[in-house]
Subunit: 438 residues, 2 copies
């Protein structure tokens, strides 16, 4: 009974996030209307199967299979279907009709963000995507707006809850990767096919989005260096713990100078890394997410919270919805994404970090000098070496060498590892981890 | 040499934040222009004394003592003078002329926010204030926009760096309050007159701003219950530590139900409280700030970073500047503050927390039963009691009793304390601390 104008909202998808968005929108309609300055009417929910079971009890008459008709009659379209098509087609249709669009579709943004943002700018519409990274944690808006006047230097993000849950369980309970993943699956933290999380695809999509935002440039997901966590062993986790580190799957976005050209560029990469135990990211437990960032003026900032979950992510979607509605009320076109930076994405080979390399070597005199020589030949400076004799299963006894390095480029390190593997005294290069957050 | 339109920026004040804003604006002008889509020209800096020494090297010709003339010729006005007048007058003048305004003036917002926001809405201008709370930490925009679709239940904020530095030093080095404050002053973390920080005035202003934003209502600073840290002793800190807590000055904003009327209201309060050592806020060291919040859908979130400092706070101001400039480029009026909540602010007496009360009592039989009886008479349920005999300076030996309570209202607790002070066996009520974050 308010004098507000009415905005028609179309919801595409009623999965775990979509159902919660619809439910909260219906439940808190009056409150949201007061905040937005407009009545937000849920015009319909487009789904493939009207009769599917939902995680929230929603009026059956809202459901439709005709997404196009729903979109064309709406002021604001919320896309929570996931996947590339038809999500891409529907968003283009919505933007083309002048509607603002809210999406949590990180795969689509990482792959077709350019196309979507360009159309939005062209027609003066706005594309919101706070839910695409970090679930409920406000991170898109802080990067896009709050830090727009600063120079972000580096982002270290724990942006995938599944892998953090698995690594945390390996660290806290000494479980193997397989056992921890089985627990994650049983508890609903991992999907039946966990490869999107475990192999770092999800984190790489988020890294592409974060790097683009932070450095005001376009970072295609294909340019993100990606390594997953399936190779991380209980021994790696235990060794890291003893050395004062915890292994975390990090999405890293960095502003760098190309060591060859001296020109500015960016790096976006995802891999399991050693993080010092006293770093704020080391305290991020279970399926939580956190984004730690360093900016020229602001210094170090951290954003922490639930990185996934239907109702948590719905919070981010509804925040975008209120923002979109307020914009409709005051009028005027949307603000385009800022990509004036146009920075090149550097190849992983040009990135320098510190490393810890675990080697199985023959337990005989001169091996240490031989190994040290290989590092030195490739310009990789050794900081510390730990040696321990292990019960060899082979005829000759073997020892374990853990080599910690100073800063070295990935290219130099890769060449070092290749040369080590050629050494007759080196039985195996068992693991290589980068150290981040120091 | 870009085809951008030019926006004229007026800066009022060239103190530690203002000088950094001017310096970064001049240094990164091209980059900011590319992001904002407009050239940001620093039209002038209004100061009282053109010849004063500044913390950054700035062109002398930018300085003027004629703030009014500068304001009237500008598109965006940045107010970093602090204080109530003439800051209030200048902001009203700027908004009245149609300029957007950016301010970090928490005292002014907490006292005259209503008047400023109303004028902004009336003329369609926007008032930005990310720098007013949490220095560089993006907290205003996340609350105002990202969480606009959610229901914030509670905020626990460490929003004053000086007091956190002092309390942290007392905790980590066992220093007395006076000694820790002297160190903070020597290191520049505390002002010559530290009362604004130490007595909780600064935190109370921030609590008023945060509570208003989080609950979409107006919370006058006078309605914020405020207690400072000057009464916190080394013994309090040590006792808290032994019991698994750390003492932090918290700004607390809570959505509550009035226990008498059953109606919804809010509480905003500032006091030193016991925080469990495993709470994320317990890890906030030195002069850092953090805002921990709980929302219905989003769950628990935390924002962490540098809460003060010239260049850090300048980051927040420049983020607002880019946002304001983008809005100018696309056109349209500003989005008004949302205060439709219109929730009453509950008196502190209606707030319920848990407490730890330290008593000096006469060391004689029956005292424990007598003290327990007083709690019980006032409806305060006792959870645990620790007793230790201390070397009494009086003729009769005294003992220390530490009483931990279950949830009780401030009113019930105050009546209990008053009654305890009447007991002949109670020598003194030595300290009363609330427990928060459990």
């Amino acid at each position: 009974m308010t004098p507000y104008r009415t905005l028609r909202i179309a919801l595409l998808g009623a999965g775990s996030v979509g159902a919660q968005v619809a439910s909260l929108l219906l439940k808190h309609g009056d409150e949201l209307a007061a905040r937005a300055g407009a009545r937000l009417t849920l015009a319909g929910i487009a789904v493939r199967d009207v009769d599917a079971v939902r995680s929230a009890d929603l009026p059956r008459e809202l459901f439709t299979t005709d997404a196009r008709e729903l979109i064309l009659g709406s002021d604001i379209v919320i896309e929570l279907m996931g996947g590339i098509e038809p999500a891409r087609e529907y968003i283009l249709l919505a933007l083309g009709s002048g509607a603002d669009v809210i999406t949590g579709n990180k795969a689509l943004l990482a792959k077709h963000g350019d196309e979507l943002f360009e159309l939005a700018e062209q027609v003066g519409a706005q594309l919101y995507y706070e839910a695409a990274v970090g679930g409920a944690i406000p991170i898109i808006r802080p990067l896009r707006d709050s830090l727009a006047g600063d120079r972000v230097q580096r982002i270290l993000g724990i942006v995938n809850g599944t892998t953090n849950f698995v690594l945390d369980l390996m660290d806290s309970a000494g479980e193997s990767f397989d056992s921890a993943l089985a627990t994650a699956t049983a508890l609903g933290y991992a999907e039946a096919d966990p490869s999107g999380d475990v192999d770092g695809h999800d984190a790489a999509q988020k890294a592409a989005i974060l790097a683009g935002l932070a450095f005001h440039t376009r970072v295609p997901v294909e340019a993100v260096h990606r390594e997953g966590i399936s190779g991380v062993t209980a021994e790696d986790v235990e060794g890291a713990r003893k050395a004062g580190y915890v292994i975390k799957l990090l999405a890293i976005c960095e502003r760098l100078t190309d060591p060859e050209t001296g020109l500015e560029g960016v790096s976006a990469r995802v891999y399991p890394a050693l993080v010092p135990r006293d770093h704020p990211l080391a305290a991020v437990r279970g399926a939580n997410n956190a984004v730690f960032l360093e900016a020229e003026a602001a210094g170090s900032l951290m954003f922490y919270g639930a990185g996934a979950g239907g109702i948590q992510t719905a919070s981010a979607v509804l925040g975008d919805l209120v923002s979109a509605a307020r914009r409709h009320v005051v009028g005027g076109p949307g603000v385009a994404e800022s990509t004036a930076g146009e920075l090149p994405v550097l190849d992983i080979g040009k990135v320098a970090t510190r490393y810890r390399i675990r080697l199985a070597v023959l337990d005989r005199p001169g091996v240490l000098a031989e190994v040290a020589g290989v590092f030195s030949e490739h310009g990789v400076s050794v900081e510390a070496v730990e040696q321990s004799v292990s019960a060899g299963a082979t005829a000759e006894a073997t020892a374990t060498l853990v080599v910690g390095t100073h800063l070295a480029t990935e290219a130099a390190l890769a060449a070092t590892v290749a040369a080590l593997e050629e050494q007759s005294s080196v039985v195996a290069v068992q693991s290589v981890f980068r150290i981040e957050g120091e």
